[in-house]
């Protein structure tokens, strides 16, 4: 389990990094390395050039304002998790990050890296999809904004180009009067979920849920209609059935597809109820 030979550059500025990426057709960005390094070690990835962005200090930030939370490419999961302002502006961040891996991994892994790694079992892509956030990508050609809806194109596949660095992820602020929840079932604490659901509910206004681990890309579903009369047994069941038409729960060695479908129902109900209750508590 040793990586194949590769070249490593450690740029000090974003421009240097972008130039390095532009210089090779087979380059990869190295952020926290918590996903990429295992892939290299198992020789499942063998890029010719690694562009280590860890030396670009200005990318390490978490900034919150009334619009939302901006997470720089070098903000570690831990930084975002611990940021009280971010948790106030968009509570889903903390609720989801608590469930991402373990402290040691969160200390290295970056939230932006997690988003662009586009693992449909990961929490943060589902949060970005649910909140309809976006990622800002930079290359030698300039910057562009990729909305969540266009970012996730397939399993572990984002629409980010190989010569781009995702410099920032933006998570819009939670609207007033809304409640949120993240529910998942994982085999062990901190594992990728067997099934996960994130929810935002604004009683009387709308409700959305998004899913991870039961689909190839994060799937967000509008269930406002179902939830119009509150999270009754029938309403949450209808919401889950609607979602299931859009999901494709896989069978693997950890769980059957049937069980995952069952979890979609259970966790959709839990998440919607809990988000609804929270909205009401906030409202009081």
């Amino acid at each position: 389990m040793k990586p194949a030979p590769f070249e490593l550059v450690r740029p000090r500025s974003l421009d240097e990094a972008l130039e390095a990426l532009a210089s090779s057709p087979d380059a990869k960005v190295l952020a926290g390395g918590q996903s990429l390094v295992p892939l290299l070690s198992m020789r499942l990835a063998s890029p010719a050039l690694l562009v280590d962005i860890n030396g670009i200090g200005p990318l390490a930030y978490v900034r919150s304002d009334d619009d939302g939370v901006r997470v720089g490419a070098l903000a570690r999961h831990t930084d975002v998790l611990g940021d009280d302002e971010a948790a106030r502006v968009q509570p889903l961040l903390r609720k989801a990050l608590r469930l991402v891996a373990h402290a040691t991994i969160r200390n290295r892994g970056t939230t932006v890296g997690s988003v662009v790694h586009a693992d449909a079992s990961a929490e943060m892509p589902a949060v970005l999809a649910l909140t309809e956030g976006h990622v800002t990508a930079a290359s030698v050609d300039g910057r562009r904004r990729i909305p969540a809806g266009e970012l996730f194109v397939g399993p572990m596949e984002s629409s980010l180009r190989p010569d781009e660095v995702a410099v920032e992820a933006f998570f819009p602020a939670l609207p007033a009067g809304a409640g949120t929840a993240v529910e998942e079932v994982a085999r062990r604490h901190g594992d990728y979920a067997l099934c996960g659901v994130a929810a935002v509910v604004r009683p009387g206004e709308g409700a959305r849920v998004s899913y991870f681990s039961v689909c190839d890309v994060p799937v967000a579903v509008d269930v406002s209609e179902q939830l119009a009369g509150g999270p009754t047994d029938a309403a949450v069941a209808d919401a889950a059935e609607l979602a299931l038409t859009r999901l494709d729960p896989p069978a693997d060695i950890h769980a059957s597809a049937d069980y995952r479908r069952h979890l979609v129902r259970v966790l959709t109900a839990r998440a919607l109820r809990s988000a609804w209750d929270e909205a009401h508590e906030e409202g009081r």
């Binding site: 389990m1 040793k2 198992m42 085999r187 604490h189 067997l194 950890h254 049937d258 129902r265 259970v266």
Partner: protein, 816 residues
């Protein structure tokens, strides 16, 4: 009087160093050595048509490549079948490098030595092998059907069939008032120590000596194997075990292919060579355990007493069988536990499959035996509508029945005779500890809150401390420091602490003055190894015996020097003194000086020992039958194993919606005879329980039908984290000393893991009212069982949220 150390919770002397990262493991040694990577089979079963290593030879940094064709002499012969048995009629072992055929994914084919591991792996990826794939035999069912054979010359894939019986079980079952049959299954798991396998070898051409450092549970075994394979005298080979990052059984297997290939390469190349196994390799090229199918027929009376029990086992031992029949023999015999069926018959078949070899993993067949017996006990209790603890108690061997002869032959070829124990008392303690009799109120209370809880228990007896022998050598330095060498190896158990406690007591020296070395053939050439919970029993006893020798000699020499009678002397705090008269005491270091009459003085202390100063001028300086030095060396060899016992109880909560299982309480009562260090014993229990939780609820080896291991990484092989094991394990001890050894010790190393599968099955069954016949169990599988149970009960809808009207387990039952 020095305070007694035996039985004290002494802090482990190992921990400070290990916790500060100062451990020295195989991979930490011989920096700059050449490194190895191994080409391993991607196929579960294939003929090797051609191997082309040419593309490797011009990779920069590659030093040498071996395939089977390059091996000569004993190296070209199959690896040894370590433990032959008359019933093992078709034993097959692998070659160090595959010859013509591969029989599991991961089997070694080519051995590349390079300047470092990176280059070696680059080289391995360039070797081209042409395979002719053959059908793979995966799982017990496929092996039994024998539609395809693993080894062409092994009919039916059967390596061995062994039957043991006491009484006429079939007749007893037929005549019994009640009968039940159960089909059971336990899946594979593995030892998975944190440190994988590893070997370093250095050949010294000047001295003609080979030094091997290996991460092994038996340095003497490795030494013998290496010497034999390489045609060296034992005396030319030293094997040293540095710190070992866990073994749990897998490292008792020897020699691994790499364990002989590395020394071979070091001799051939004249440079130190190192192999460090990585995690993925460990999954596919070391060993697994546990996988068995079981069928039980049992006849019993109204109290649940076992009148006749007949067991059939199908044991999946993988592609080869280097460790013989130890695991299924242990399952067969230790299934009996604390019970005494009137008639018992067990027959097993040990079957080849195209998977990784199966060799003992902590518990070594006992978890499967306990599973079948305890599942049977629970099934009987359910059938009779009796309390599960009561049914067990009705079958216990009673305290006045020891020694109790189970009339079977144990794994060491000796009669299965239990030496001592008190099972009724253990059960009483367990029931009190966990609140067994009050559990119905706990259940009702939980039910009122919409929660589903269950309690389970499981009992076991563990034959520990098997022979043939272990030894110890102790010498007292002239500084008074006491150096102890034991031959068996340490993998973190705390031997250095426990054995120092024994020596401190036996010899009357401060604990801090005792230093223990293990697993170094230079210090102790005769030893067996660390397995079967035998270190404390075997080496502990040998250490005590050797210390007694040292003490006797010290008193004899001191009696002379102090002009006192030996009987009047004692050793206190490292000094010999006339009992109760510390004024004229003699330090043990001084006694050591006196024990060795010198011609040459090299320091102040040795001046005291020259031939002009010591001894009686009319006698030879070293008397007949005596030796210089204050040393003792002795061996302990018991006539048979000593039998520890224990009982565990667990309270679980199962989520009515998600089918997740949460552990609410975990209680252990345990009897390992005399406790040398209760803290170490409890640590062993805690670790064992954690490993058992893994085996019961998380771990499995997920092979697909083509023989690919789908979860060969810690990402998908779910070893429990600290968050999955019970926060608190309630432990109570009972001490019924063994009459078989000087200190009354019984083994404790494996105990914690033994009852887990049975225990969790019992508790989940209790919570759910659904029979559990197969372990481990995941939430997805429990959900499946619920759904099937609901289908059977006619309500398909609510599988996930049956508000448990507890139904009785469904059995094939028959009553007369």
């Amino acid at each position: 009087m020095t305070t007694r150390m035996l039985g004290e919770k002494v802090q482990r002397v190992e921990d400070d160093r290990l916790l500060r990262g100062q451990g020295r493991y195989v991979d930490d040694l011989a920096q700059g050595a050449l490194e190895v990577a191994v080409l391993r089979s991607p196929h579960a079963h294939a003929r090797i048509v051609e191997i082309d290593v040419d593309p490797v030879l011009d990779v920069d940094g590659v030093v040498a490549v071996w395939t089977y064709d390059d091996l000569t002499g004993p190296m070209a012969e199959p690896l040894p079948l370590l433990i032959p048995h008359p019933a093992l009629t078709h034993g097959r072992t692998q070659h160090a490098l595959a010859k013509d055929e591969v029989n599991h994914v991961g089997e070694a084919i080519a051995f590349v030595v390079a300047e470092d591991r990176y280059v070696a792996e680059d080289a391995v990826s360039r070797i081209r092998v042409t395979y002719e794939p053959l059908p793979a035999v995966v799982g017990v069912e496929a092996a039994r059907s024998a539609e395809h054979l693993v080894h062409e010359d092994v009919p039916g894939n059967v390596a061995a069939r062994l039957e043991q019986a006491t009484g006429d079980a079939d007749a007893a079952i037929a005549a019994a008032p009640h009968r039940l049959s159960l089909d059971l299954e336990v899946e594979r798991s593995a030892s998975t120590p944190l440190e994988g396998r590893g070997t370093v070898a250095r050949w010294d051409p000047d001295a003609g000596r080979l030094t091997v450092w290996s991460s092994t549970q038996t340095s003497t075994g490795v030494r013998a194997a290496v010497a034999t394979k390489l045609g060296l005298d034992l005396g030319q080979v030293d094997v040293i075990t540095p710190d070992v990052g866990g073994g749990f059984g897998v490292k008792i297997v020897h020699p691994w292919p790499e364990e002989v290939l590395v020394p071979m390469a070091a001799m051939a190349l004249g440079r130190p060579v190192k192999f460090t196994e990585d995690r993925r390799e460990h999954f596919v090229s070391s060993a697994h355990e546990r996988g068995q199918l079981q069928h039980v027929d049992v006849g019993f009376d109204d109290e649940g007493r076992l009148l006749g029990m007949s067991v059939q086992l199908w044991h999946d031992h993988g592609a080869y069988i280097p460790y013989g029949l130890i695991v299924p023999i242990i399952t067969s015999t230790q299934a009996l536990g604390p019970y005494k069926p009137e008639a018992y018959k067990v027959v097993f078949e040990s079957l080849y499959t195209n998977t990784v070899i199966v060799t003992p993993y902590r518990g070594a067949g006992r978890p499967q035996g306990v599973f079948l017996m305890e599942r049977t006990m629970d099934a009987i209790a359910a059938y009779l509508g009796r309390d599960r603890a009561e049914v067990r108690a009705a079958n216990f061997i009673q305290p006045d029945e020891f020694p109790y002869d189970q009339r079977m032959t144990f794994q060491d070829g000796r009669p299965l005779v239990y030496d001592s124990g008190d099972y009724p008392q253990l059960l009483d303690k367990l029931k009190a500890l966990v609140g067994w009799d009050d559990f119905e109120s706990v259940r009702q209370e939980a039910r009122r809150e919409g929660r589903r809880v269950g309690i389970g228990l499981a009992c076991y007896v563990e034959g520990t401390g098997v022979g043939p022998y272990e030894g110890a050598h102790i010498n007292v330095e002239t500084t008074g420091k006491v150096k102890v060498a034991i031959g068996l190896t340490s993998q973190g158990q705390g031997h250095r602490t426990a054995f120092a406690q024994i020596v401190a007591d036996e010899l009357g020296v401060p604990f801090e003055d005792v230093e223990v070395t293990s697993g170094d053939t230079r210090r102790m050439g005769y030893a067996v190894g660390t397995f079967a919970s035998r270190a404390a029993v075997m080496s502990g006893s040998a250490v005590a015996l050797a210390a007694r020798q040292v003490k006797a000699k010290a008193l004899r020499i001191a009696a002379d020097a102090l002009e006192a009678a030996e009987e009047d002397l004692e050793i206190v705090d490292g000094h010999v003194q006339v009992r109760g008269a510390p004024a004229s005491r003699l330090a043990l270091g001084t006694v050591a000086v006196l024990s060795n009459p010198l011609r040459y003085a090299f320091d102040e202390a040795s001046k005291l020992a020259t031939q002009f100063t010591v001894g009686n001028p009319d006698k030879p300086p070293v008397e007949e039958d005596d030796e210089p030095g204050l040393e003792g060396r002795d061996f302990y060899s018991p006539e048979r194993s000593t039998f520890a016992a224990g009982m565990h109880a667990v309270v679980v909560e199962t989520d009515p919606d998600t089918a997740e299982v949460k552990i609410l309480r975990y209680a252990v009562v345990h009897d390992c005879g005399t406790l040398v260090n209760p803290m170490i014993v409890e640590g062993q229990i805690h670790g064992g329980v954690a490993q058992g939780v893994g085996g019961a609820l998380y771990e499995r080896m997920a092979y697909d039908e083509s023989g690919q291991l789908l979860n060969a990484s810690f990402m998908d092989f779910l070893m429990p984290y600290v968050t999955e094991v019970p926060e608190r394990i309630e432990v109570d001890h009972l001490e019924t000393p063994s009459p078989l050894n000087p200190l009354g010790i019984k083994g404790a190393g494996e105990a914690g893991v033994i009852p887990s599968a049975a225990l969790f099955a019992s508790a989940i069954e209790d919570a759910e009212g659904i029979p559990i016949r197969r372990m481990p169990i995941s939430p997805s599988e429990l959900y499946d069982l619920r759904r099937k149970a609901a289908e059977n009960a006619g309500s398909v809808e609510n599988a996930g949220s049956v508000e448990s009207a507890r139904s009785e387990p469904v059995e094939t039952k028959e009553s007369r």
